[in-house]
Amino acid sequence: MLKTIGVKSVEELFSDIPETYRLKFEDWLRLDIGFGRPLSEVELKRLMDEKLSKNTVLRTPPFMGGGVYPHYVPPVVKYTISRGEFLTAYTPYQAEISQGLMQAIFEYQSLMAELLEMDVVNASMYDWGSALAEAVLMVARVNKGRSKFLIPKNTNPFHKRVVEAYTRPHGIRLVEVGYDRVTGEVDLEDVKSKLDSETAGVYVQYPNFFGVIESGVKEVFELAHERGALTVAGVYPVSLGLLKPPGELGADIAVGEGQSLGLGMNYGGPHLGIFAVRYDMKLIRQMPGRLIGLTTTRDGSERAFSMVLQTREQHIRREKATSNICTNEALMAIAAAVYMSLLGGTGLRRLSEINYYNAHYAQMKLSEAGLDTKVFESDFFNEFPVSFNGVGLRYREVHEGLLARRIHGGLYVGDYYPELGETALFAFTEVHSKDDIDLLAGTLSEILRGERGVP
């Protein structure tokens, strides 16, 4: 090859790099990169096994949520996304040899549309937080001239931080709406008082960050629409087997986290940002992200799929694009499609019920263990706050006690909600067995009785 090119050495091909910047091989080798030499597969495998074995093996899945939940991942999902034809495919810009990939993504959009009862779903965003942030930007584009966006205090604080980072350069004012200390739900009066002609949109997450089911979403959204504001719903798909879909509640936009639909928690990613809108070209044209659409061949004889409304996107519209997103979470969207196809509506309903029951059973058991599990009065889905304010222990101490027994407790929320004091959110899903919950309750009860350390 060198001869054909007409060079003596491969280094010559790099001769256009000014010498000041060109690395000498010796200098490059001296850098701390990898293990200083190529590793054989045999040693690499051993090495990674050793590293991963440093993670703690817990006795049960963590009792922790806060936007990401331990859920069962059916092996058929992993199998499907491991197939090289999907795994190693590029974004389907070449429609002719990507019809299968496009159909799979179209099916994700379509299945999600049914779950949400929203008509238009994009091919995915990075995660819930970024999907919400893009929704706020979109609302501001659609409701041009309005600069205020209402975001309740019981919204996931991690999502809120993403919204802040995305919206800050655009002069969008995020106005916090309080929550009712008794019910845990959005304070409707506060919504009313803050909704005005400056308000571009309103967000409601349900179940909210406390796991509480917002019973007044529809009212909030109606109020918003009366004032000309757009409505954004934040959803946890697993709850939608039991909860009314955002499409029925008056959401213009729905966002959420698809991780619960067959994806691992992966220590934070890849996850799957859900983004959906009502069928309204005014909204659709302002959507961020990729859309696969159903069309036909030019002769009309066969179905075909193509990317649609690409003129919204960065590779065509550049600085005028609705978002800069390019690579999204396509493979994770396919995973979610496989998952939803497998469960069907009936399975999704059942899944939802199991999550609900397990959490409510846990509430009973934790109450019996002497804990305050009724921080809020309203019903919750699969997660609820447990208050340790009355038991004379800081949650940190409880957490240490659990960890000593290789149990991972809930998420401490006192940092975000000082008014709740020593309170942690505990989450329960279908992966937690009755025995797991009994173990947690029993252990907490031991800890409260002062029996710390390894049993």
Binding site: F14, T56, I97, L243, G344
Partner: protein, 513 residues
């Protein structure tokens, strides 16, 4: 091939996943569901549940109608579609990673944190930067992280109102200007000179006190190394603007040059390009961002790394454990909710560890060899030319122009692409970069064998021959692919637009228009 849409299956109230019996006891103990009527879903979602066998068959068939690097060469310019080694798949998909909650106590995830810590360090050394965040979920997300960091930089310095412009070459990816807009900047474009470098005169004319930063890809999307990078850096720094390195083409100089050494302040990397994590049909990606840890504000002791969004893995010497540092008060904050895309991150870790520095340098050598060998093979093929930087070596990719072909035969770059599809190759990137007419951007990466490169070149010659001898035949391509020519207009038209099955059905029923 005519696979039904999954939603066309009859809904028999079946579910393919056995969930029952496990939780019966908790439901018995709890009793009734007390969710208020107003928010209780009345009927389950209209999704047919299928037995696992039918799900597997359906998605197996769809996968067989998809095409990736596992099926053959995908020489898409700027996409760096290299092979995705299976050893990394085995490790990155390990349940010992999948089952970790991002908010878990750090002491329970020390194995993973060690991996991520080392990856941060390696990427810093590979780029010649000081600190890397693994937070961004994709290349464009990394760009967003970068431009938001530039914005924070000027905010901290109290000049955000002045620093309104980001300069971008005309050969840039669309994500660059789009990212700049996301961060509230105005994009200023500079042209590319005939030699393939940025036009210095034009650059001097636009750089000024309003300049917040410059974003460039180097090697550029023409596959050319920016020869005057030193002057550019100096010029931009004179105005206290930051230099942003778009890492999309790092595969062309890996181990030979580092953005940090060239003077860049911020750089993002595409782990799903240069570091072999798979594209997955459009994600997940990972777009770490690395910075020079220069001082931003001496009195307040703020450094550039303090501005970065996301979580950093740090080593706590005292306790001897790895910890997660959450974004501080000066930081951009979070641009996704939790850590980062760990699966591609671990994939890249495995890739780097398996190659070591020796192997990483061989990556760019082989990639650049492939490009320049291919150029020699197709030099002089009628109808094609290679504009810009005549005679210069290309790095990771090359851009052909089919302008003569189009003018002389009517066969366009798109037709050429379809002709390649027909021969079982994935098509090149077409009509990009925008500065090249009838552009065909080709990147083989180090993964393709010499035989594959030669076969590809042969096919291009054949296409040229057919185009000149029988252009009508060429306009019929593709004929071997599963679907014939697609009606994109119908796909896009508001009346027929069907982005979901739900919309399609509702339009059929007249419920939507």
């Amino acid at each position: 091939w005519n696979e039904p849409i999954i939603l066309e299956n009859p809904d028999k109230g079946f579910t393919g996943l056995s969930l029952d019996s496990y939780s019966d006891s908790t439901s018995r103990a709890v009793g009734e569901i007390k969710i208020p009527k107003g928010v209780l879903r009345e009927t389950p979602p209209s999704i047919p549940g299928l037995p696992e066998v039918e799900v597997v068959r359906h998605y197996t068939r769809l996968s067989q109608m998809s095409y990736g690097v596992d099926n053959g060469p995908v020489p898409l310019g700027s996409c760096t579609m290299k092979y995705n080694p299976r050893i990394a798949w085995e490790i990155a998909f390990d349940e010992r990673i999948a089952n970790l909650h991002p908010l878990q106590d750090e002491r329970t995830v020390q194995g993973l944190l060690e991996i991520l810590f080392e990856l941060q360090k390696w990427l810093a050394n590979i780029t010649g930067m000081d600190v890397c965040t693994l937070h961004p979920a994709a290349g464009a997300h990394g760009e967003l992280a970068g431009v938001l960091t530039i914005r924070r930089y000027h905010e901290v310095k109290g000049r955000a109102d002045l620093k309104r412009e980001i300069i971008v070459p005309d050969s840039a990816h669309g994500t660059n200007p789009a990212s700049a807009s996301m961060a509230g900047f105005v994009t200023v474009t500079v042209p590319t000179g005939e030699d393939g470098n940025i036009d210095m005169e034009a650059l001097r004319a636009v750089v000024g006190k309003r300049t917040a930063g410059l974003m460039i890809t180097n090697p550029s999307t023409l596959g050319l190394f920016e020869e005057r990078i030193g002057d550019i850096v100096k010029l931009v720094h004179e105005y206290d603007a930051l230099l942003y390195y778009d890492g999309a083409n790092l595969n062309g100089i890996l181990g030979y040059a580092r953005p940090g050494d060239m003077g860049f302040d911020i750089a993002h990397l595409n782990l799903h390009k240069t570091f072999s994590s798979p594209h997955g049909g459009g994600g997940p990606g990972a777009g770490p961002v690395c910075v020079k840890d220069r001082v931003v504000d001496e009195t307040r002791n703020i450094r550039l790394s303090d501005l970065l969004p996301g979580y950093l893995v740090v080593y706590d010497e005292e306790k001897g454990i790895y910890r997660l540092k959450h974004p501080g008060p000066h930081s951009v904050g979070l641009i996704k909710s939790f850590f980062g895309n760990v699966v591609p991150l671990v994939w890249a870790y495995v890739y780097i560890a398996s190659l070591g520095p020796q192997g990483l340098r061989r990556v760019s050598e082989h990639a650049v060899l492939a490009t320049n060998y291919f150029i020699k093979l197709i030099e002089g093929v009628r109808g094609f030319e290679i504009p810009y930087g005549k005679g210069r070596f290309r790095k990771n990719e090359v851009v052909l122009s089919a302008r003569p072909l189009a003018e002389e035969t009517g066969v366009t770059a798109m037709d050429v692409a379809k002709g390649l599809l027909d021969a079982g190759f994935y098509a090149p990137t077409v009509y990009f970069p925008l500065i090249v007419k009838e552009a065909l951007q080709v990147e083989f990466t180090e993964s393709e064998t010499i035989e594959n490169i030669e076969r590809y070149a042969e096919r291009l010659k054949e296409i040229s021959r057919v185009a000149y001898e029988n252009p009508d035949e060429a306009k019929k391509w593709p004929i071997n692919t599963s679907v014939k020519i697609i009606d994109y207009v119908k796909g896009d038209h508001p009346r027929t637009l069907a982005p979901t099955w739900r919309v399609y059905v509702r339009k059929q029923r007249g419920e939507l228009s």
